[in-house]
Symmetry: C2
Subunit: 393 residues, 2 copies
Amino acid sequence: MFENYYTERIKNTPSSFIREILKVTQRPEIISFAGGLPNPISFPQEELKVSMNRIADKYGAKIYQYSTTMGLESLREFIAERYKKIWGMDITIDNIIITTGSQQALDLLGKVFVGDNDKIMVEKPSYLGLLQAFCLYRADFVQTKLDDDGLNIEDLEKTMSEHKPKLAYLIPNFQNPTGLTYTKENRQAVFDVIKDKDMLLIQDDPYGELRFTDDERIPYIGMNQTKKNIYLGSFSKIVTPGMRLGYIIADKEIIKMVETAKQASDLHSNIFGQYLISDYLHNNDLDKHIEKIKKLYKSQADAMINSMDKYFPKNIKYTRPKGGMFTWVTLPEGKSSTELFNKAIKKNVAFVPGDPFYVNCSNVNTLRLNYTNADTQTIEEGIKRLAEALKEI
Amino acid sequence: MFENYYTERIKNTPSSFIREILKVTQRPEIISFAGGLPNPISFPQEELKVSMNRIADKYGAKIYQYSTTMGLESLREFIAERYKKIWGMDITIDNIIITTGSQQALDLLGKVFVGDNDKIMVEKPSYLGLLQAFCLYRADFVQTKLDDDGLNIEDLEKTMSEHKPKLAYLIPNFQNPTGLTYTKENRQAVFDVIKDKDMLLIQDDPYGELRFTDDERIPYIGMNQTKKNIYLGSFSKIVTPGMRLGYIIADKEIIKMVETAKQASDLHSNIFGQYLISDYLHNNDLDKHIEKIKKLYKSQADAMINSMDKYFPKNIKYTRPKGGMFTWVTLPEGKSSTELFNKAIKKNVAFVPGDPFYVNCSNVNTLRLNYTNADTQTIEEGIKRLAEALKEI
């Protein structure tokens, strides 16, 4: 009815496929590996309740009033200190802006950097929330293949020389949707290819803290070697997602532009939530809390991988994530994961077919499984059902 | 340094003038009428503390988890019931989407409706947050003059026939920045002009509940007579702004498109804040609370108007708001309010010069005063200082 009023940009933006799927999969009899929700038992509820009462007593009206676009200083200080300590980054709070979840970080970076038909490089497959956010700004996506050890360097070189992208968006740790992590060597090789190019690099890292193994953290691509890097982080997977608190770390000049975009977008993020999370972080041991989440997710990931080893036919491939929330399944060539989805739903198990993680691809033979939101027994039962469905395609 | 990477849209978007001014005016010796902050003593702090503990006990992990893009059902139900009761609107929760403050409502409507160079009609002067939000989507603004009783109908007719705007944005109650309210007759006259045109009408109403007089509420323009109306509301001025909770009421088809835009923008608004405000609203008497705020703001508005009557030269004009948070001052023709601002700051009093409320105007002779965030004595002292500054221009 209002067709003539809509912008081209919104008409071309897909409604989130996952959110549509989630509506289907909310029936109680369904075991869903479709979502990307942190396990609610990982939320520090007791500590947050202590913090909310403390900030109400300590700060009074301030936790309810309008606040600054950049975000609460004490929260930005916590982030600055943490990145300095872990990565030796030379940053201050002026390099950090708080966003309404990482999704808003993507929207703001789209506002600032993505013009009509600008070439944007993403992984193949990539995070669908990014594809949706930048689609609104009419990005022209180019995808670079992802291998088990990170970006395919040959494909990267080809993409760079053919398309000269202005901006790249990568998830180097426990990638969404594949669960893959770029090796140290791969990161160096990627940096060697891109370092002299006129391209900004966004590295989104919501899952980096959730490493199951004792391996050392791997530094970001080109870390501390270029001003063209933009880092995204989030409290969604390590404290709570419902507060919608993420952040961007970048050169001050870029942060300044993002601030203008954020003023126009929502003035500032919920300030109560910022006080709450800041108080929680300053009064609890985050690393200890993360250890608990890692242990929980590792047991769930193990349950899923072991069940797949046990029940899946040998011609089904899947990644073995060392952290994060997802594994990525590849069916034999020619098979459609959407067709599998329709069979699986009838057996009361759900996942996300691979299609929405690609640009202009459909009926792909890949799919994403999430393991963080079901107990190990339920995971085994769900994988059994999926194995049954696999026989029907 | 990153000039070549920025989009045209962000380069053309002004950083919020008010936020820049607020930085200047935060010195403690300055009496500031520049902000637009609700009075912090109007926040129901005790009740909110009760509510936060109640929702923590009652809903557990749900108040921290990811949630739906449309927003919490119980909050949307409260809004639907209220608009049904007050205005007889035929709406359900499907006509309502929760936004991260009203500013995000503007951003989302920009995404959905404002394409490059689309003609957008706004009042002259208009709310600068709207100008900033739609500027990002490269709106071509046309401004229609505002008189004491509402839109200038002759100018409206001219604007409509010359520019055929696709969308109009109006604030019919206690307008920001002028404090003016459209009369019932003016609203009817506006509707008579626009009703057959191919134009959507956004009516933003953050201040409508804050009417100082016992006069009846005046229905919105074309209310319950067209599907082309979009209504914006907010809890910022009647409960607390720090939660960043506003909403859009519109035809379901429009809400569906806005939902897609919101998925791409921040997935959903802070869910803890939605539970908190919903619990507060369902367990307290909002109207009684609003009465308290109105009484407070009326005393402050009276103090400002009375002081201006007493101290200002007779050639200075100002509006006499019947509600809301602002009054609008007009200097003699040829005088610049920016020049006055520079003199006033030296006398430790601040306000917002009119320039940012216009499209392509500078050195205008108008300015905005806010009276909600200082006590009556401070208001009188500030107006005295401003009267002194007036002698110097």
